[in-house]
Assembly symmetry: D2
Homo-oligomer: 347 residues x 4
């Protein structure tokens, strides 16, 4: 019963099989193989336009190099104050941009508020050299707390960013989960909304290690091959990434996996909301569930073998003294039977 | 007949199988799983001491982060002027060290000459702030041109480095090939000779993607977890690297693969040296062969499906006008039958 | 009637004269002249211990290089959220530390609250690689809003920093103003309180350009000459800085100038507090005064030739609609007659 | 008798006087004063076009920020292998560009050879990500060994740079000395030849501290204010630089000083070439003289109070065992009587 994180799962059997199949033979290194080219073409189809795709090793690398591509001296990046870039990347964005600054923006439910974003950007007036200069806006879809920006909400953020002449990045470590939650298309959720650069994650949704930077306008990606190489993120046997993405997209495996994962989260959510010993902190929209559980019950779950994380309650969430907030993450590997076990333990 | 590079091969079947086997189940992310711990323990056994091991995505990352660990302001790194760090890493060492400088040192046959190294270091007198300060020495084992430092030669380099108070790094992208060429042990080829930090490569010898930084004195590696995270090189599903190394070390697979690879290089070498249409540029010592071939014959080989690279002849190698210098690299995947085909085409 | 900033004044006549006197003759460049040595010795006397002194071009350079000296990968610096480093240095600290992060800490009256500092540091638990690692604490003395940490308050901050094993930096752009406000000694206000590194500013107190980094334990400054050179902050004609500091310390010119400046601020403060058209936002403690003035009156002051800045009111300061908050800065060059003019205009 | 360096002299009396005159009164800080604007206008006149001017603290800062403005990821800068950037800036260019690489180019007499430059650039083929990408060419005028590029020679270098699409920088730490040596105009020696960015030095020619970056096309300087601020190179009391340049340009003081300096070098050169105990290593063209002197005679000069530096002889300069190569630098402050003393001591 592992709900610690979607990166505690291994690889989906079909992805594992594709990797094994590719193990033989020879192929051009450094991303120049036929398979690399084919997978790049798949990205074009999926995004309904020609995009530039760059495989990298980690989601942190995708985010950091996206920012490096948009870099300006004294540059300030605007993201939700709980964004992964700010809370969980060990200074990689600052480092890989050579000293960029992350400015946390408020907003309820893990999503930036467009007015708060506007106010934040205005703290850095153009040409006022002492405070640095705005450089980019980044949203996380789905967010760190399992919520999803609606298309309208992305529009509102994009409008604010564009009003200030700023490019818009999406951290899509859980892109597929958000996509199927909204029931929309990659094109609709990204460039049609104004997203310029996307960190496209496959790892949390069933790959071993498959992350890509997708630049919507390839003309703007001119320096990315050099940025990636310089950051030691160019794989020699690049086809081991390509093979994973190839299987990921095959027969919509990625969407099926995300749907399964979200469905498991819905069932977990329902279960917590119906329990006498638990309730939901907020409604799960993707593959993360944040229940408030009686501490002794949570302890019992752990003793019975369930893994999940404690979570710091947001300021506006009132908990009783004997309650705790927890995070349960589902994935392609989550089994219905584990949810049933949780249900029985919770009762 | 692919001799372009050892990173054009895929993964060894046993490594591929180990990865598939690990695909199921859940494991702690970010290098904290039992398998990660077990593989770290294997490194201790192999190096006959407690070492600190850090998996990273590429050989360039291993080299760059090794240098970042040894970093000093205005720091100068001394390496053979044809070293991979200098010629082939797109500025990653300079970037990841925040502006370090690589100083090329002379030496015949791809190996630094200790006297040339001493002279080079003396160009940067201690406390003379204008020229920067020496920071580290790095050797490549086996070298970029398929030669191997003997243990005595490593001793001589180490003595020079230590005389100047400098730490010594080994770029072991082809560590196993050098090791079996010398018939020695990892401990003897590294810390017993004075190596402080090692880039330990598995990718070129049959892994998909398995590179590690090995710090011989773990006390000196205190900051490495932060350096690695900040450089976006910490894998979430770290066990996909661990699983590869686990299989790599199992039943000496790594040594067997390297022996096969070197053996294929020896046969290729013999073949070129015996041919009327070719000769050897120099004697192969690991898994790279540099023949001088009549250009029309080389062309014929290519037309018949052999892949290999043109190579710039060193200044002291005299070629006839109708001759070219080429590089043939062997690997775990090189087949004896391909060598036979080369033999027949060459004749 | 110029109250815009203490850096709008030129140079004190005695400093100007000393510079003119030094213009002739020859002296060793790059900080190795006898005058440089003599001034370094003066710093030892002033701080009552052997310190290491490094002249740099700007206060921003002093702050940034101080942080670079204390640098750690993924490092987080804790400073008051209104600190100059955070608000006014255009990303220099982040840049010169190669990606360090500034974390704003709360506290009333421009001073960090020790408990808030403790809570902030605890957000970055040791060894939790994802959030980076604490690296240094920095306080500004006097603060951005003209207040001064008492010796006890510095003790409390130092105790918190040391409890977490963190070095403590003081941004002393207005060091002299704080010193005479407290009526204490440089030693008492710095290393006896636990300050490890000091940005010692002379520019705002009557020099043209004289800023120094003072490292209390010279053994810890080993890399600073290289850090400074690498940051392009080593002056060739270093004695032009030395000559300024020489005159600055001569016959306590620096203390006299600061006393004059603070006295002018006190008189301004009194004047505003007694006016029917103004009141004080808070009590001035050094050389900055923040009056709340009726907007029409402030407008009149400007029309009559007074220069001063608008200031964003802190959240806890209630203003009437027809009132504004303003900043008046005094310096060695502020004349009593200008204050009288303000008085008459204000009435 | 001080010939160690032109940065051992203090400030020209007229510059010193101008600085004293500016000491009083108040002026807008951070480069926005009327004097700053007036001096910027003077640069426009001197360069016969609208240029963008940025004062910085050191020549190293001017060079490094010029390169930062031209920065590309994995960028390689081409300069003469003895250039100040390569030999004497402590890694500042690498640091301030965030990891740029300096590639030394051959050429006789301290000047890059255009064919050697072309060959060097070709080592880094466009789009070959592994070797990085060419970024800029930099020449030093006058050179490190007191020679001067003719206008035709600058044309040849510019043609090579432009053929590869590379911007061209001039390190003009001794710009005035080269200018009067050629008897040309600033415009002719720079943008009319293809120079894009210039490090314009005043310090070595009689200022205390006056260095500027001159960007020939202001539209390309958009980010420079942020680059400069972020590098801690924006002076608050900027007018102390402006005042120096104001006096520097007044009544052609800068040209007169450079002419004096060059004239002194010519007389020194003549003196050495006529002495029985000395000869010239090469012909002085600006304000540096490199005599070969009998070691015992050189020793005697030093004992009698002459200061000058030993110099490493270039490979193609044959010295007798009892001879040494030395560097004598002249400046605005060099006195004819000191040269006469050298003459009498030499005889």
């Amino acid at each position: 019963m592992n709900f610690s994180s979607d990166n505690w799962a291994g690889a989906h059997p079909e992805i594992s099989a594709a990797l094994a199949e590719q193990a033989g033979g020879f192929a051009t290194a450094y991303g120049q193989s036929e398979l690399d080219r084919r997978v790049e073409q798949r990205f074009n189809e999926i995004f309904e336009r020609e995009v530039a795709v760059f495989f990298v090793a980690t989601g942190t690398a995708a985010n950091s190099l996206s920012m490096a591509m948009l870099n300006r001296p004294g540059g300030v990046i605007f993201a939700h104050y709980k964004a992964h870039m700010i809370e969980d990347e060990g200074g990689a964005v600052e480092y890989i941009t050579g000293g960029g600054r992350l400015h946390g923006v408020d907003g309820p439910m893990g999503r930036m508020n467009p007015e708060a974003l506007d106010r934040a950007i205005r703290l850095f007036p153009a040409e006022f050299v002492h405070s640095g200069q705005p450089m980019a806006v980044s949203i996380t879809q789905s967010s760190e707390i399992g919520t999803v920006y609606s298309l309208d909400e992305i529009d509102a953020i994009a409008a604010t960013a564009k009003a200030h002449g700023l490019p818009l990045h999406m951290d899509g470590a859980r892109f597929a989960n958000a996509l199927v939650a909204l029931g929309t298309t990659p094109a609709e959720m990204t460039w049609k909304r104004g997203i310029d650069v996307l960190s496209f994650g496959g790892t949390k949704n069933g790959c071993w290690c498959a992350e890509a930077i997708v630049v919507m306008d390839p003309a703007k990606a001119r320096d990315m091959p050099f940025l990636r190489k310089r950051a030691a993120q160019l794989f020699s046997k690049s086809r081991f990434i390509a093979a994973q993405f190839d299987a990921y997209f095959q027969d919509d495996l990625w969407l099926k996996s995300a749907r399964h994962s979200n469905q498991m989260a819905q069932e977990l959510g329902k279960l917590f909301s119906e329990s006498a010993n638990a309730r939901l902190g907020w409604t799960p929209e993707a593959n993360e569930v944040f229940p408030i559980i009686r501490k002794d019950v949570a302890k019992r779950l752990e003793l019975e073998g369930a893994n999940f994380y404690d979570w710091n309650p947001p300021a506006d969430l009132a908990l009783e003294e004997d309650e705790g907030l927890y995070r349960f993450v589902t994935s392609f590997a989550t089994r219905a039977e584990d949810i049933e076990t949780i249900r029985s333990l919770l009762a």
